[in-house]
């Protein structure tokens, strides 16, 4: 596991001293990511510059020692209140430029990006004179710095927004509540996590981004791992770097619900800031991909919320059809077929030939048990473009639709196609349904072979019971009741309290004249479903066979009261009543 810290937020205190940072930076540096950000929150940037020069000097020394590192140094400080302070600040930035110049030259000669880039973040309040700010920003650019603006407690005017060149520079909008220091840390932290989310989307695979930020407060020299620890004033227990390593390892080791919630919070908090930076498409992208991550976690309700957020952005900016398709999928998984249909209607209006539309429509029709329409939709999806749909599922559900309307030959054709595209380690359901088709066609030997194949193809634990049940059915059909019972016992071991298994076992015991066991099975079936008329009827027949006539009459009457169409129950009841009448 690669351990690295991507971001450090240093909080400078009023009477700052480099000695407070020296050891921390020296020890933490080898843990930093090859490409890291160091933020320095300073209210006294121009008054007490000495520690900052020393921090920069230390970073330069470390960059020489580790010549494959790249650091973005981002001082955050207020814009000065008067002209004298502005002049002083300019002097400071000139000194910074001189300090980092050798690294700028190194980058130029190596045709690479500088390994120490200074990106000042200037905090503005509504009282600041914009002309002065504008001049200062130009000065910074001339000195090869890339400035950003941080808006404290006020929304930026259009004029302010125009001060920044959004191609490279950034506008920060203060987020959340708390002390001024907490608000700045929160704002920076959310922006950093937003950047992580954007690179997570770019890389398009892997877990959600985890926080790789730590906060160092000069006051008390405390190290906090992540924002929540900082806000709850919960620093690392000891100042050893080893503790930090183990904290990071813990944090990196697993996915947690908290991580997802953190990223969702980041997305919602950052929406306004990113839009302010003309990054609307990126915001929509974040919501969309978080939606996808939630779909993967099968959290369809929350996924729907994210997809709805995406749809608040205009369709010229984001492909709405794609979003509606995922909304349809979520509704489908939540069994809200009406909403799924509405979402699909939205796609059909604009993109009637979208293969995914027809695939999902097929799923809806399948759920509605309109198997003929489902087959048509799956066929169309596969015809338009099998690459743009889960072709394996399309063939599989088309097969199930055929099976449901007893078209076993067509079912077999579809299953053969599904077999070609299914992952080889997931073929068990294909063989199982092929077995069902052959059973439907009364080809017992073929069916039996396929159920065996399904059993030997690494079936999911929840499928085991059904496979054993159908193996039992094959033997029952051949009159091999003892072997059938053996498989049915295995079916019960895989899934207890399964009605059809008890029913079938009862039948087999009846056939081998073990009426007591048959009765036990039918009683068990009735316990599972007291309204199962057929099991009442079978119970009555077995009682009759055992000679318990009165009981049998009562039970058979009960069966017929639930379902008067069970012919054999009526036949046995009539026989019993006839004998009873004769006897009387």
């Amino acid at each position: 596991m690669a351990i690295s810290i991507r971001n450090i937020i240093l909080i400078q205190k009023e009477k700052s001293s480099f000695s407070h940072y020296k050891n921390f930076i020296f020890e933490i540096f080898p843990l930093l990511d090859l490409n890291s950000n160091i933020f320095l929150l300073s209210n006294a940037f121009s008054n007490n510059f000495s520690p900052i020069t020393q921090i920069l000097n230390q970073l330069i020394t470390l960059l020489k020692k580790y010549p494959f590192y790249r650091i973005n140094f981002r001082p955050i400080h207020p814009f000065p209140e008067n002209n004298f302070a502005v002049r002083r600040l300019k002097e400071i930035y000139k000194q910074i430029h001189d300090l980092i110049f050798p690294l700028l030259e190194e980058a130029y000669l190596n045709q690479s990006i500088a390994r120490l880039i200074v990106l000042p973040i200037i905090q503005l309040s509504p009282d600041h004179r914009l002309e002065e700010v504008s001049k200062f920003l130009h000065f910074l650019r001339d000195q090869s710095f890339i400035p950003s603006i941080y808006f404290q407690n006020h929304p930026p005017s259009l004029f302010l927004r125009r001060l920044i060149n959004l191609q490279q520079e950034r506008l920060y909008l203060e987020i959340g509540k708390g002390t001024p220091e907490e608000r700045v840390v929160k704002t920076i932290y959310y922006n950093l996590q937003g950047d992580e989310l954007l690179s997570w989307i770019d890389s398009s695979k892997g877990d959600l981004p985890k926080s790789r930020s730590i906060i160092f407060s000069e006051e008390g020299q405390k190290i906090f791992f992540g924002l929540n620890k900082f806000l709850s004033n919960n620093p690392l227990p000891i100042d050893s770097v080893f503790t930090l390593i183990s904290e990071i390892e813990k944090n990196f080791s697993s996915y947690s619900e908290e991580l997802l919630l953190d990223n969702l919070a980041v997305a919602h908090q950052l929406k306004e800031t990113l839009c302010l930076n003309n990054r609307h498409r990126e915001v929509a992208n974040i919501f969309f991909y978080l939606g996808l991550a939630l779909v993967q976690k099968e959290d369809f309700s929350r996924a729907l919320e994210q997809f709805s957020e995406v749809l608040t952005f205009p369709s010229e900016l984001y492909d709405h059809q794609r979003v509606w398709l995922f909304k349809a999928l979520c509704h489908l998984r939540l069994h809200d077929l009406k909403s799924a249909q509405l979402a699909l209607n939205m796609v059909e209006k604009k993109d009637p030939d979208n293969p995914m539309l027809h695939y999902l429509q097929g799923q809806v029709e399948f759920e509605l048990k309109d198997y003929i329409e489902a087959i048509e939709r799956f066929k169309k999806a596969l015809k338009i473009n099998p690459r743009q749909i889960p072709a394996d599922n399309a063939w599989f559900y088309m097969a199930l639709s055929h099976i449901n309307i007893l078209e076993y030959d067509e079912g077999l054709i579809c299953l053969k196609e599904a077999e070609k595209v299914f992952s080889p380690d997931k073929l068990s359901p294909i063989f199982y349904y092929q077995g069902i088709c052959f059973l439907g066609k009364n080809e017992l030997d073929n069916a039996y072979k396929l159920f065996q194949k399904a059993l030997n193809s690494n079936p999911a634990p929840e499928d085991l019971s059904s496979i054993y049940l159908y193996l039992g059915i094959c033997h029952k059909e051949k009159g091999e009741y003892l072997i059938a019972l053996d498989y049915l016992q295995k079916a019960l071991a895989a899934e207890k309290d399964r009605l059809e298994v008890y029913n079938l076992m009862g039948f087999c015991y009846f056939k081998i004249k073990d009426y007591d066991r048959a009765i036990e099975c039918f009683v068990k079936a009735i316990e599972i479903d007291p309204l199962s008329a057929i099991d009442w009827a079978n119970l009555g027949v077995n009682l009759k066979a055992k000679g318990e006539k009165e009981k049998a009459i009562l039970i058979l009457k009960k069966a017929l009261s639930l379902d008067p169409t069970i012919g054999f129950a009526r036949k046995h009841l009539n026989e019993l009543l006839e004998k009873k009448t004769k006897a009387q």
Binding site: A2, I3, S4, I5, R6, F29, P30, L31, L32, D33, L34, N35, Y66, P67, F68, Y69, R70, Y108, L109, N110, Q111, S112, I113, Q167, S199, D202, S203, S204, K205, G206, R212, I245, P386, R387, A391, K420, V421, S423, P424
Partner: protein
């Protein structure tokens, strides 16, 4: 014996390190343990991680893929590795290494420079180290001997075919399938043409070697079964042998692989029948090398292709509803400002969106190219003579026809037209 391979590209998202994976598969088949470290933009990696890998895995030999843009970082990591364990031998390979002046690396951490395809050279070196040999003059490499100078080992005869090289995709443990969305496949190596800005013809002596269709199909089969749905054929001229590519497309269609394909080829190596097959096989995008829309400039590049051929290929491709990308450059030899604007106009007129690989880039003058060897004859004036000797001119130059300012102007015109902030996939 453990071997470690590094792919470092700190300015782009990580992609499959296909060349290193080939080397890995080759030496793994010879009984070595191999690990590949793939560091891209945003890959979590620190000095601490490096130290832990070196101490835990204890490689005897470390190899790096080198390019102009990552060389500085390679040297930095190599130095750090030597500091952790000076006994480890370090070899560099890749486009930057093949024609690199040896003397440029004499002081420094690099022990071997691979001058040919990496599989055999890396294996020979690993084998010598395994046998504990002291005299390490390795075939296909320049080797730093005890006096601190590099000496060239004997040449290695080139491959005739490629199928004897084990596949990185069919070898376990080299490709992290769960981390990639797109697989890069090399179905051939080399190029028979002579474009003056390209390193490939000289590196492969204008020869081309191919994998069989069957081998490529086996790889795609494995890739798709691992859930990867995007394939990038990274051959320099994918459709060089029309018949072979047709067979490959037919097989992909027959096998019904659910894949989306991106490929690059020359505009004169395509026809409408092949494009139809490509469409059916799942080709989504084809990138053609336009370079310049000035016939005069094109002719000077020795690309031997006409604008008409390119226009025709674009049209045929678009007719099949396959996306077109155009590789274009500016600040080429003989190119005036007007020529450069013509190229931008050509891309727009042919309805090719300026995004991804269709974002133009300034010509980079790399080692091993005709342009680098004879830059003066091509009107190239380097701007900087203090650059380290391990780097070529790159983009630090003016031409007889364009000043530095004009080149920057052209760059910003392209930037303004870009739909995606100039994110290229292939550099």
């Amino acid at each position: 014996m453990n071997l470690l391979l590094f792919e470092i590209n700190p300015f782009l998202p990580p992609s499959v390190p296909i060349s290193l994976a080939y080397i890995g598969a080759y030496v793994q088949a010879k009984g070595f343990q191999v690990k590949i470290i793939n560091i891209g933009e945003n890959t979590p990696f620190s000095f601490y991680s490096l130290k832990r890998i070196i101490e835990d895995y204890q490689p005897r030999l470390v190899g790096f893929s080198t390019y102009q843009r990552n060389f500085f970082y390679v040297l930095g990591i190599a130095k750090a590795i030597k500091e952790i364990n000076p006994e480890i031998k370090i070899i560099i390979g890749g486009p930057q290494a093949t024609f690199l002046p040896s003397a440029s690396l004499e002081p420094g951490p690099i022990d071997f420079i691979c001058r040919t395809e990496g599989e055999q050279a890396f294996y020979f070196l690993a084998e010598k180290l395994r046998q504990g040999e002291k005299e390490l003059l390795i075939p296909g490499c320049s080797c730093k001997l005890e006096d601190g100078h590099f000496y060239d080992g004997p040449p290695i005869p080139s491959f005739k075919t490629l199928d004897h090289l084990p596949s990185p995709y069919l070898t376990d443990g080299l490709i992290e399938f769960e981390k990639i969305e797109e697989a890069i496949l090399l179905t051939s190596r080399g190029c028979p043409h002579q474009c003056i800005f390209c390193y490939t013809p000289n590196a492969f002596k204008q020869k081309v070697f191919f994998h069989s269709v069957e081998r490529v199909i086996d790889e795609i089969e494995r890739i798709t079964k691992k859930g990867i749905k995007k394939i990038w054929f990274a051959d320099p001229s994918f459709s060089l042998h029309l018949e072979r590519v047709e067979q490959l497309m037919e097989k992909i269609i027959e096998k019904n692989f659910s894949v989306e394909i991106w490929l690059e080829t020359r505009a004169d190596l395509i026809n409408s029948e092949l494009l139809k097959k490509m469409k059916r096989a799942g080709v989504k995008q084809i990138a053609y090398g336009l370079e310049s829309a000035s016939e005069r400039v094109l002719a000077s590049l020795k690309k031997k292709i006409s604008l008409e051929q390119i226009k025709k290929a674009i049209k045929l491709t678009q007719q099949q509803r396959i996306g077109v990308e155009l590789f274009t450059q500016f600040a080429l030899p003989f190119e005036t400002f007007t020529d450069a604007i013509m190229t931008l106009k050509f891309v727009k007129e042919n309805k090719v969106p300026i995004q991804g690989n269709s974002n133009a880039q300034q010509t980079q003058i790399y080692f091993g190219t005709e342009l680098s060897w004879n830059y003066k004859n091509y009107g190239i004036f380097p701007l900087e003579n203090r650059r380290p000797a391990y780097l070529s001119i790159g983009d630090q130059y003016e031409t007889s026809w364009l000043s530095y300012q004009e080149i920057q102007q052209i760059k910003s015109l392209w930037e303004k037209e870009s739909l995606d902030g100039r994110k290229r996939k292939v550099s």
